[in-house]
Symmetry: C2
Subunit: 324 residues, 2 copies
């Protein structure tokens, strides 16, 4: 905790002198802790305080920061070649602009740079966006879709990105060598109660002490009583929820949207509805931070039954019945 | 639930025809429920669906909407005359602009118009802002500071606002005639664990079934383990947390800021720090919604001891020791 505060203060002051209130304004932790660290850094000569400004006495060789604009452009080029969306794997990619909105938010929370990051399910290609937009990250993708695993590994290889993808089904336990190895975990979970508990437990298994978890959750297919159970599960796994940003991420509209609604809800008016032309499906983006060691609720293999990915509120899941 | 969705759809369509996806985009509840209500409204003739657009068959006499701009101007005029800030009552008003940011957010969540609203502690004068900015609200303020109670009642009276203030200390139980009477509750609680539990319990006592609670919580004086306890308390009181907006509200900087830090933290460097010239103190704004009937954790009178308002992390509380 104190170490992270120290890093934040030094990183902040490496960009120029700041007054006391600017420092407090920039760091979201108890004032008491910031003040203690400031006094320590003054006492050991790392900082000086003159005319109300804190000054860093050593210059730091900061890693060259990647340009966000270049990252978006390159991401756009790469993702043109992505494999087709597979509704059978619940793939619903986030808008490109909103992928980078997530990147920027996580960066602002100190959860990307110099962190080991795990992503469960990456049809958004968030792994590539993170790697393109940061100087020093290591990203592992756990993904059920083999063609996506291959695509991500190939793209990472071609563009020299520190990203690796593995084929993995969330029904399986996290392999022992990956447990408690990551600082940051990100997923867009299946939204059944079982799916949510399993996906978030897999994240808890992957995370180190004080690790941070991000996930999307909708009000569109998850009723509030399930939200409540998700929140209880997070607390029981030793997390505290620090952010819930409503409608933070919008998803690409697809031809499956209306097909799925017709399939799952037998309401006459849906026959007259055309497919969407603008993004409408969205999720809240939630950040939770472990207090000490995360305690996953589920560590064993679970049966990959329909209950895992389907319940009465899941109405955008489309299965091509003609092909089964 | 279904009734609220119906109201939202009708209110939305009263502003003009909308296509299906625009309706889904505007309402944050399960798709399944929206679709069912749409089918019902089509079946009973309230709506028609032509060329992919939903149309309201009856015209509604909508209440004239107050102009936000006028409300801000009037609020500014009124608040010029407010009583002086009293640090002994933990008064730290939010910036005027951020008071209206709260109003707009709550309005967008359908938690103001036509609602009965209770506010615990109103040094922000949020009650007056809400009443000025809405067409049809009823606001009760519970406030410990007698001069503020008088000011709010006088201002409400002079400007014809449906706002009433009562003198009340959160250490006391909620009077029986006010229990379970409100739709929306708002507070900026004392940030000790006891203070938080008491303030939020008072809110739970005031709220009807499915009522909504809003409160500010800082990372500056509330460490994450206390955040976690607050979240557990909310779940135990039958609430689900729907929004946590980081650094949503900034507070007026005051001369007490540095005095308080010097008083509470004996660190040498603080003697050299000048008072803040820009806002720096801020809180996250949290929204929680009851699932059914709220269950307050604390209903009895509690002892109004120092433990209620002071702990090791409370560093901005200033007591004028020369006067005691």
């Amino acid at each position: 905790m104190m170490l992270k505060i120290k890093d934040q203060i030094i990183s902040l002051l490496s960009k120029g002198d700041k007054d006391f209130w600017d420092i407090l304004k920039a760091i979201d932790v108890p004032i008491k802790n910031v003040c203690k660290v400031l006094q320590d850094l003054l006492d050991d000569g790392t900082l000086t305080l003159e005319a109300n400004k804190f000054h860093l006495t050593k210059t730091l060789s900061l890693k060259e920061k990647h340009e966000q604009k270049d990252a978006i452009k390159k991401f756009h080029e790469i993702s043109k070649l992505r494999p087709e969306i597979k509704p059978e794997f619940f793939q619903t990619p986030i808008l490109e602009s909103d992928v980078f909105k997530r990147v920027e938010f996580m960066r602002s929370r100190q959860d990307l740079e110099n962190q080991k990051i795990a992503i469960l399910g990456d049809d958004d290609l968030l792994s590539l966006a993170i790697s393109l937009a940061t100087a020093e990250t290591e990203v592992l993708v756990l993904e059920i879709d083999k063609s996506l695993v291959e695509f991500i590994n190939k793209a990472a290889n071609e563009h020299g990105l520190n990203v690796k993808a593995l084929e993995y089904n969330a029904a399986k336990p996290i392999p022992a060598h990956l447990k408690e190895k990551f600082d940051t975990f990100i997923t867009d979970p299946v939204e059944t109660l079982l799916g949510l508990k399993v996906c978030l437990s897999r994240g808890a298994s992957l995370l180190k002490s004080n690790g941070v978890m991000y996930f999307g959750l909708t009000m569109l297919e998850t009723p509030l009583n399930i939200w409540q159970e998700v929140e209880r599960a997070l607390l029981d796994m030793n997390f505290v929820i620090t952010d819930i940003m409503r409608n933070f991420s919008f998803y690409e509209p697809t031809e499956y949207d209306i097909k799925a609604l017709r399939q799952n809800l037998s309401l006459p008016f849906l026959e007259k509805i055309e497919k969407p032309r603008k993004p409408w499906y969205r999720s809240s983006f939630i950040r939770a931070e472990a207090i000490g060691k995360p305690k996953p609720l589920i560590e064993v293999e679970i049966e990959f039954t329909k209950e895992f990915y389907f319940d009465d509120y899941q109405v955008t899941f489309y299965s091509d019945e003609s092909s089964t």
